[in-house]
């Protein structure tokens, strides 16, 4: 019975220790909070690259902003010793992602590059992934969005426009990763080189606070950043194992 053989073969393969940790690439981003100024250039870059809709004033008033990348602001202290701590927050591409387990139709899953991928076509809109995500980085299409003509001419043809009832989030600009991989293949190379692919936010960051690359490459810029003693992950206690690593802000006046 080839069906059973096939099943058993896969069963053993899937159950091999470490199978789920073996990624082709392990795309990782580091955010140096000591460099980040909170200028939000990344927010617009993401919006332009990923066809994130313009939702309008009313929708934002109702808490329905859609920008995949947002800057969270936390104030510390009182005047005059007041400090603003800004932190860019976007999909952390957790390797132990709570959102992936909960989707009843597997519309969100972990791909072979260590990315937390979202299949818009498969999504039925239970929104449970957004509930399970502790980083609040999943955005739901509460209605169909439209672009006043001719603003729609700007839409990126490499990224689909999502319809109502679908969850969406940061993809680490998966379309750029695909292109880089295709380019590497066309070049006859096996792997994408460090720096060859950058998500829109990393590309545009004026302070170079964001670094993106393959963690599996020990010489990549991102691997170097991961070795920094300031590296930490947000909400580490939740054990979500994020692929976005932050570098602590330095307080020059702290002891």
């Amino acid at each position: 019975m080839s069906l059973i053989d096939d099943f058993l073969a896969r069963w053993h393969e899937y159950r091999r220790p470490g199978y789920y940790e073996e990624f082709d690439y392990h795309w990782t981003m580091t955010v140096d909070l000591d460099r980040c100024t909170g200028c939000e250039a990344c927010v617009t870059a993401c919006q332009a690259e990923n066809n994130t809709p313009i939702v309008g004033e009313d929708a934002i008033a109702r808490g329905r902003h859609m920008q995949w990348m947002r800057v969270e602001r936390y104030w510390e202290g009182e005047y005059p010793d007041v400090k603003l701590r800004a932190i860019p927050m976007f999909c952390q591409h957790c390797d132990a992602a709570p959102c992936e387990t909960v989707c009843p139709v597997s519309a969100t899953y972990h791909n072979q590059d260590g990315l937390n991928a979202q299949i818009y076509n498969r999504c039925i809109g239970t929104r449970s992934c957004a509930v399970y995500c502790p980083y609040e980085v999943r955005y739901f299409n509460y209605n169909n969005h439209h672009w006043d003509e001719p603003l729609d001419q700007q839409l990126n043809p490499d990224v689909s426009v999502r319809e109502k009832g679908v969850m969406e989030k940061c993809t680490f600009c998966i379309q750029r990763i695909r292109q880089a991989k295709d380019a590497a293949k066309d070049d006859g190379r096996r792997r994408v080189q460090d720096g060859e692919v950058q998500p829109a936010c990393v590309q545009t960051c004026p302070t170079e606070a964001l670094v993106f690359g393959d963690r599996k490459d020990p010489d990549s810029a991102v691997s170097l950043m991961l070795g920094n003693e300031r590296a930490y992950t947000v909400l580490e206690e939740l054990n979500t194992d994020p692929s976005v690593v932050y570098l602590k802000k330095v307080d020059a006046d702290a002891a």
Partner: protein, 449 residues
């Protein structure tokens, strides 16, 4: 013309119950028409609008992506609990008083499950693809995600719905046969089909009894598991104040609690409007009242535990969640819930209260309002206050949501109204079991004459 329960004759039972099916007054039609109209206007119309516009028609937003639809879903699932579960438990424990009420209680289960399923349809963003949540073979080799608690839900609810349907149907077969023999025309034909050729032989009674008990035993753990699984939708997340081990018993107790209160409401209505005064008596209300009291105490205990769990955690996220629930934006709702579900039911200590019909009705409705609030708070408060303070928000239901809530109640009523005209809403043969046998009566009659 009040008859006592003991005065009812076997023939009266058949007559009364068949009468309830066959004789339909204008009041029924008016009620049904109103229920249907409300269902259409308050449920289907807003829902179609929502399908056209998107979930944005509801009030949900970025942190609070779940709202009243999911609260309603849990509520209806909860309501479904006492029917079949209670019926099964009481069947196994041979409680006599169960017999007059279990049919309608089971119907409640069935219909609230159906309404709950509708709430799922209303809740999801793209209900036209809801079948993707079912495991069916397809050429894309795409399967649902069996790791997902939502998937467990789909399984559990489907199983429970199937089990409950079979259970209520199986228990009704002898009654269908009884009605078949006393009706004519299209009704007769319908009951011929429904009764599956029941003749009332000893073998048939024996098999029915055996299968019925078997199913009852099977359904009890199933029912418990259904609401445990519904609780896992929440408890398996890492949302502060939802990620708690007590959630499964909390939900099960809450479900039985609200379900029992629902039964009281339905009993009252049946008794009053279907002229079952002599079948559904103070005894039933007394017993249900005791049950409610016990459940309310357990429920209160679990609520206290929940508060202490949050408090003792000394974790910023848990504490904030707790603080928000007790003293935040939704605090009035929380205290309303405590009043209706923990404080008011203490009245049930008094037997006079338990055996008074109208106060019991009011209390049962209050408990269900409180329990609905509980479900709303579980969704609303915890999602509004999660880990990242900069992503906190407030959720207020929209008109569409409230309308659909009203419409779902009307839908439930509609289904129930249709039910009472097709199913004998009081079990003919089991009620007879509680009555003195006709032979005894005959002997008595002979002796006195």
């Amino acid at each position: 013309m009040q008859r006592r329960h003991e005065d009812i004759k076997f023939a009266d039972v058949n007559n009364d119950i068949v009468r309830s099916l066959v004789e339909t007054g204008p009041r029924y039609y008016v009620t049904l028409a109103i229920a249907v109209l409300i269902t259409l206007a308050c449920f289907f119309f807003p829902w179609f609008y929502q399908l056209y516009y998107g979930i944005g028609a509801a009030g949900m937003n970025h942190p609070t992506v779940w709202g009243t639809y999911l609260a309603s879903f849990i509520f209806w699932i909860g309501l479904s609990h006492s029917g079949t579960l209670l019926s099964c438990v009481l069947h196994i424990t041979n409680s006599e008083w169960r017999k007059a009420m279990y049919r309608s209680a089971e119907a409640m289960t069935l219909f609230s499950l159906m309404v709950a399923a509708m709430m799922v349809m209303v809740h999801v963003g793209r209900p036209w693809f809801i079948h993707w949540a079912l495991p069916y073979p397809n050429q894309m080799e795409l399967w649902p995600n069996f790791r997902s608690p939502l998937m467990f839900d789909v399984m559990a609810i489907t199983t429970y719905l199937t089990g409950s349907s079979i259970f209520i149907y199986m228990g009704s077969i002898p009654d269908f046969a009884a009605v078949r023999d006393r009706t004519t025309g299209w009704r007769h034909h319908m009951y011929v089909l429904l009764s599956l050729g029941w003749r009332g032989t000893d073998t048939e009674w024996h098999r029915l009894g055996w299968a019925y008990t078997f199913l009852a035993v099977l359904i009890i753990p199933l029912a418990v598991s259904v609401h445990s699984i519904v609780s896992w939708d929440f408890a398996m997340s890492i949302v502060p104040s939802l990620h708690q081990t007590i959630f499964a018993p909390y939900f099960v107790v809450g479900a039985i609690y609200s379900g029992t209160a629902g039964i009281v409401t339905v009993m009252f209505v049946l008794r009053k409007y279907m002229n079952f005064e002599h079948y559904i008596t103070k005894v039933h209300f007394d017993n249900l009242g005791k049950l409610l009291l016990a459940l309310s105490l357990i429920w209160t205990y679990i609520n206290v535990v929940e508060v202490f769990t949050g408090w003792y955690s000394n974790d910023s996220a848990e504490l904030e969640s707790l603080r928000y629930k007790l003293f935040g934006f939704y605090a009035p709702l929380y205290w309303e819930m405590i009043l209706f579900c923990a404080v008011a039911p203490l009245l049930l200590i008094s037997k006079r209260f338990r055996t008074s019909f109208v106060p019991m009705l009011i209390l049962s409705i209050a408990i269900n309002i409180g329990m609905y609030t509980e479900r709303f708070l579980i969704v609303g408060t915890s999602l509004s206050r999660q880990y990242l303070p900069d992503s906190w928000g407030v959720y207020v239901p929209s008109l569409v949501e409230l309308s659909i809530l009203v419409g779902s109640i009307a839908m439930f009523c509609t289904l129930f109204l249709v039910f009472v005209k097709i199913f004998p809403s009081v079990s003919i043969y089991e009620v007879k079991e509680t009555l003195p046998a006709p032979d005894e009566g005959k002997t008595q009659w002979q002796a006195t004459h």
